[in-house]
Amino acid sequence: MNEYISLSLILFTIGAVGVLVRRNAIIVFMCIELMLNATNLAFVSFSRQHGNLDGQVAAFFVMVVAAAEVVVGLSIIVSIYRARRTTSVDDANLLKS
């Protein structure tokens, strides 16, 4: 059991560090997905450990939300790329005067 949770923690940490250090918006996005899936893994593991289905249900919800988020997020990234020819998150600073 501990192995699953450890894997989940490792995946989440990788995702979090990736969000913080990478500049490419696509990679940042992938890291977010990684964090989401790390939590899914934790949910499922705990569900199995406690013997009820609440964790499984939560995992499904996270997947649904993640799917929706990918749709919106990727389209934003694409439109930013079209407008500014870059996907670096550091260059998306138009709101700062």
């Binding site: 979090a16 969000v19 913080l20 250090v21 998150v89 550091d90 998306a92 600073n93 709101l95 700062k96």
Partner: protein
């Protein structure tokens, strides 16, 4: 006809408005319209006066309410005009002398390109002055009161290109505001105490009011009267007001507007009858002004300013008489009317002299004008005889009555008035000698000449009135005529018979004349104002340091107060507000720094925040 009071006012008002809006093509005949309007008012006034004469003494008051002016809760003001014995005399004086001065102005202002506007202002003045004297409510009176103030301001500053004229107009306006404050407070007090500001109602309620109320009302009204009538301590504006064109000085600052204060006191007779303190204050103000004005009149070399000092002094006489109560009201009005004749006459005479002397006003540059300007000299001479009180000219009758009544009140007051008569004779004789007699002192390039007919005819008419005006009012006609308005006067017993007193007065006048003749005929008059003179003459030239006193007592402290308030406003009130804004700005600047626009730093903040929250939750759960 007696219900047509409003028309008296409407005619000059309409004419004034017409002249102001009509364009340049009315320049050719605008002055004629103005004069005709004034004359029409006079004719209407005369007809109404004749009708009034035909009625019984008790029925001679005709009030007409045109409309309700203000109706707000308990505050109710009717636009009332009252034509009674008192206002009838004023209507005749204002429109009569006013018309003559309009005629005179046609000649005097002939070369002024803004003559049409001048006549418009004169018409507006006539309308406002008639509103003042016909008003049946103190608030309506106040409307006229402010109206004449406005007209006076516009006309003093008529030659606005001269800084001195603009400053004099402003000064007159500001000093009058002080008096108007008294008037406004008096009207508010009337409303608070009596629930109305109708003159008749207030006069009816005054005898039943407490001493405090009548005294405060009397003193407040006196303050208003002092401002308008240039009485001490609000006298300083009148001499500067001589910057205006001379017909203005004659009409507004001698014959009519400046006497509005006397009218106010007489009109409010019930208030003053009920308060001895207020009455005594009027006497003191009158006496002080009468002597101060005469003093100034002795020292000035500017012919108009000498006459202005004399005006102050003569109005002081009227005030003094008005302060004597029912014994003096009628004499105050009597003197007011005769003064209106002879002082307007002399001011117009002075204007005629200036006209011939290239607008020079310094009497030291005159001399020997008798042969150059015979008509002006003759008419001015009649005015001179009238003002110093030589029998049987107008001033003799009126001044004699006032001095007599003053002696009936109090020996010292009478003595002051008697002294004033002597000084009047002195300064007027001085003026006559310096202007018309003595040797000629004018420069070569000046060519004195008689004024055109349009200017001399009004002079002749006014001179005739100065000569016979007193006789028209013989046999106590004025006292009897005004009795229903101002109340019956019981006669004071004098220590000496009236005829002896009259002889004494005439003697004092003669001494004044002889003193002036000796003083100014002994040696040639200097063509420039001598600089080494006695302290009395110097004080008189400086208008008894009235301006310096105002400067020290009012202007400078006010300026310091203003400076303090500005400081308080800037540093205190604004400082607080801007301080709060500054602190908010600083905070914003501080909060702005983390907003770098770098998405990854936001992400770090979020992770840090979440980590802190989780740590806190853990700490709480474990503990």
């Amino acid at each position: 006809m007696l219900d047509l009071q409003w028309l008296l006012i409407a005619i000059p008002l309409a004419s004034g408005a017409l002249l102001l809006v009509w364009g340049k093509e009315s320049d050719r005949f605008g002055h004629l319209i103005g004069t005709a309007a004034s004359a029409a008012s006079f004719v209407l006034g005369a007809i109404m006066f004749a009708e009034l004469l035909g009625e019984n003494a008790e029925e001679r008051s005709h009030a007409v309410s045109l409309f309700t002016w203000i109706d707000a809760g308990r505050f109710h003001v009717e636009m009332t005009f009252v034509f009674d014995q008192l206002s009838a005399l004023f209507v005749l004086l204002i429109t009569g002398v006013g018309t003559l001065i309009h005629v005179y102005s046609i000649g005097y202002m002939a070369h002024d390109e803004r003559r049409r506007r001048f006549f418009a202002f004169l018409n507006i003045f006539i309308a406002a002055m008639l509103t003042l004297v016909l008003a049946g409510d103190y608030l309506v009176l106040f409307l006229g009161w402010e109206g004449v103030g406005l007209a006076s301001y516009l006309l003093i500053g008529f030659w606005q290109h001269k800084p001195s004229a603009a400053a004099a107009a402003k000064k007159a306006f500001v000093v009058n505001r002080v008096g108007d404050l008294g008037m406004a407070l008096a009207i508010m007090l009337m409303f608070a105490q009596f629930g109305t500001s109708a003159i008749e109602a207030v006069n009816a309620a005054a005898p039943g009011a407490t001493d405090t109320v009548t005294t405060s009302l009397g003193l407040l009204l006196l303050l208003g009267a002092c401002g308008k009538s240039a009485q001490v301590p609000l006298q300083s504006w009148l001499l500067d007001a001589m910057e205006g064109p001379t017909p203005v000085s004659a009409l507004i600052h001698a014959a009519t507007m400046v006497t509005a204060g006397v009218y106010l006191v007489v009109r409010s007779n019930a208030i003053f009858d009920a308060s001895e303190v207020a009455r005594n204050a009027v006497i003191v103000v009158g006496l002080v002004t009468l002597l101060a004005g005469a003093w100034i009149g002795c020292a000035k070399d500017d012919i108009k300013k000498a006459l202005a000092g004399s005006t102050m002094s003569q109005i002081g006489y009227m005030m003094l008489a008005a302060g004597l109560g029912p014994a003096g009201y009628a004499f105050a009005i009597f003197h007011l009317i005769t003064h209106g004749f002879f002082k307007a006459n002399m001011f117009l005479g002075a204007g005629s002299v200036m006209h011939g002397m290239d607008d020079d006003v310094d009497m030291r540059h005159y001399g020997g004008l008798r042969s150059m300007m015979p008509v002006t000299f003759a008419t001015f001479g009649l005015g001179y005889l009238a003002i110093i009180g030589v029998p049987p000219f107008a001033g003799f009758w009126s001044k004699d009555k006032i001095i007599e009544a003053a002696f009936g009140q109090n020996f010292w007051v009478g003595l002051g008035a008697l002294l004033g008569a002597g000084v009047t004779a002195f300064y007027m004789t001085r003026l006559m000698i310096m202007t018309f007699l003595s040797e000629k002192r004018w420069r070569e390039e000046v060519h004195p000449h008689e004024s055109p007919r349009v200017m001399t005819w009004p002079l002749i008419a006014l001179a005739a009135l100065s000569a016979v005006g007193g006789i028209l009012l013989l046999g106590d006609w004025v006292s009897e005529w005004l009795e229903p308005v101002v109340g019956h006067a019981e006669h004071h017993e004098l220590a000496v018979p009236a005829i002896v007193l009259t002889l004494i007065i005439t003697l004092v006048v003669a001494v004044g004349v002889v003193a002036a003749v000796v003083f100014y005929r002994r040696e040639p008059i200097a063509a420039e104002t001598p600089s080494s003179v006695s302290i009395f003459a110097r004080a008189g030239r400086h208008e008894l340091y009235g301006n310096e006193l105002n400067e020290a007592v009012v202007v400078r402290p006010t300026r310091h107060l203003t400076r303090f308030l500005v400081w308080l406003d800037g540093k205190g009130i604004d400082g607080f507000v801007t301080g709060v804004a500054d602190r908010l700005g600083d905070t914003s600047q501080f909060l702005r720094k983390p907003q770098t626009g770098l998405v990854r730093s936001y992400a770090l903040t979020m992770f840090g925040g979440v980590a802190i929250i989780i740590l806190c939750l853990l700490a709480v759960t474990l503990a």
